[in-house]
Amino acid sequence: MRTAIVGIGWSGFRPSVPELSFTEMMYEAAVRAYEDAGVDARRDVDVFVSCQEDFWEGIAINDEFAPDPVGGVMRPTVTVAGDGLQCVGQAYMMIRSGLAELVAVEAHGKPSDVKTLQEIYELALDPQLRALKPGNPFFLAGLDAVAYMRRSGARREHFALVAVKNRRRGLRNPRASHAASIELKAVLNARPAIYPLTRHEIAGFTDAAISVVMASEQKARELRSEPIWLEGIWWSTEVGSGSVEWHEWGSMPSARLAAKEAYRQAGLKDPRRQTDFAEVEDRFSFMELLFLEELGMAPEGAHKLLESGYFDAEGSYPVNPSGGSLSLGTSFEATGLMRLLEAVLQLRGEAGGVQLRGAERAVVASWRGVPSYTSAVAVLGR
């Protein structure tokens, strides 16, 4: 039995959305998604799934705020503390099991509401080890980037190239509020923010809400002539962030394992040849290259392919044709769905200024961000 994405909607996609509360953003995204799918949330949707985390919200037991704005009152709502793509995985299981025919997934983030973000990040570290106070949790990305350089032979210039590619690409995407017309030299000459990365290579924050409507094969065919099929999805966590020493530095095994299972479900043997583009993690520039390797997209070395323009929008295998997180920004647990949204619009031929020609199948890969070692991978097809 296949599973499909039959509707998608969004709200925000700006660094700050002061005029709307997070529930109003959720409502706006949900209304658009249900309209897009042609369903009545109160009548047709069997289960609602929401990805969120209390400390991002500043509201304890925020799960209780989840049902109202998505039409889930008095119905089963499942909240998951994880990236939005993990919620899509939950919906996938419910539909595959036959328990639900129509599931609504939402994730939202309002980083502009959080005034002490650094201290909130600190709360994510093991309480017994917080006393070190290393400035900010992005140091974890710096450590991974340096380890990745040593392992792969990639240089700072390659990371900067990713930032230029994605930030410039985003100029064509109306949702990419962090897009910029930057030159390689400007990225390289900027002072490092977290060595070896400059501020241009670290994604900004965005307020966003995204809703996705998922359906069983039969239901999908009733609703749309051309649904987007979710051919596979999986996720995994490597080590708890309390034990960063145990992470496999310069690698992301959680993405590798998630991809392996998602590809198996989708029947992919050679993901780069069997798919047309990818939306992959790039909230730190080097992550794009690291992820491409972990996703099995670059046995030759991702930085070498990047250098040759292989991953450009006009190249052999476009990577982050939306502009990626470097252009779109990150939005806590909504980040993965921001990327799923771009992939769905792309496959539908509704990507506007960033539309690729003839894209039939895509890989979406997201990471939960520092300080986490959780990744999710999805395969979508027309």
Binding site: V17, E19, T23, E24, K110, S112, D113, V114, R130
Partner: protein
């Protein structure tokens, strides 16, 4: 029988190595949004504002931009009467950790005299607030239930656009 070992108080236990005390520094600036911003502005002006669902007609108080029951956008604003009846009330003597409060808190749900409501609906436009001029005995004896109450406002110059612009609900 005497049990061997050393007896410790909780404070002593908490001071031992292996117990870390940590005060989270968490600060947020919650966007009130379209509906609650108007509600809070109304409080500053001494008004209780609600929204009516354009689909089912129920009055949403506290107001929202959408009716969660119909999942449709809420419609017109309306000013609600500042009087109502005590739907339910309680006295609290303890904190969440079961510590003793310095003075008991008397809190209630007020069913406002909203237009179009009979007064016995299970769901109604209401406000959660403190009661004043009501004794612990009034609550425990049940006398307070159904009592007619009205909003007692802070002086206009002290109002900040907050639910505490209403000091409490008092009997009248």
């Amino acid at each position: 029988m005497e049990i061997p070992g050393k007896y410790v108080r909780e404070e002593e236990l908490r001071k031992m190595k292996g117990v870390i005390e940590y005060v989270p520094k968490a600060k947020y600036s919650y966007s009130a949004g379209q509906a609650l911003s108007v509600f809070l502005r109304g409080l500053k002006e001494g008004k209780i504002l609600g929204k009516r669902c354009s689909s089912c007609g129920r009055i949403l108080l506290p107001p929202r931009e959408f009716c969660e029951s119909c999942f449709s956008p809420a419609g017109e604003w309306l000013e609600l009467p500042q009087t109502g009846r005590v739907e339910t009330a309680s006295v609290s003597y303890i904190s969440a950790k079961r510590g003793k409060l310095e003075r008991p808190e008397i809190v209630a749900i007020i069913r406002l005299d909203a237009p179009g409501y009979r007064g016995d609906e299970p769901e109604f436009p209401g406000i959660f607030h403190r009661l004043c001029g009501v004794s612990e005995e009034d609550v425990m004896s049940g006398r307070v239930f159904g009592a007619r109450v009205r909003a007692r406002w802070r002086p206009a110059e002290q109002r900040a656009g907050s639910i505490t612009d209403i000091e409490c609900f008092e009997r009248w």
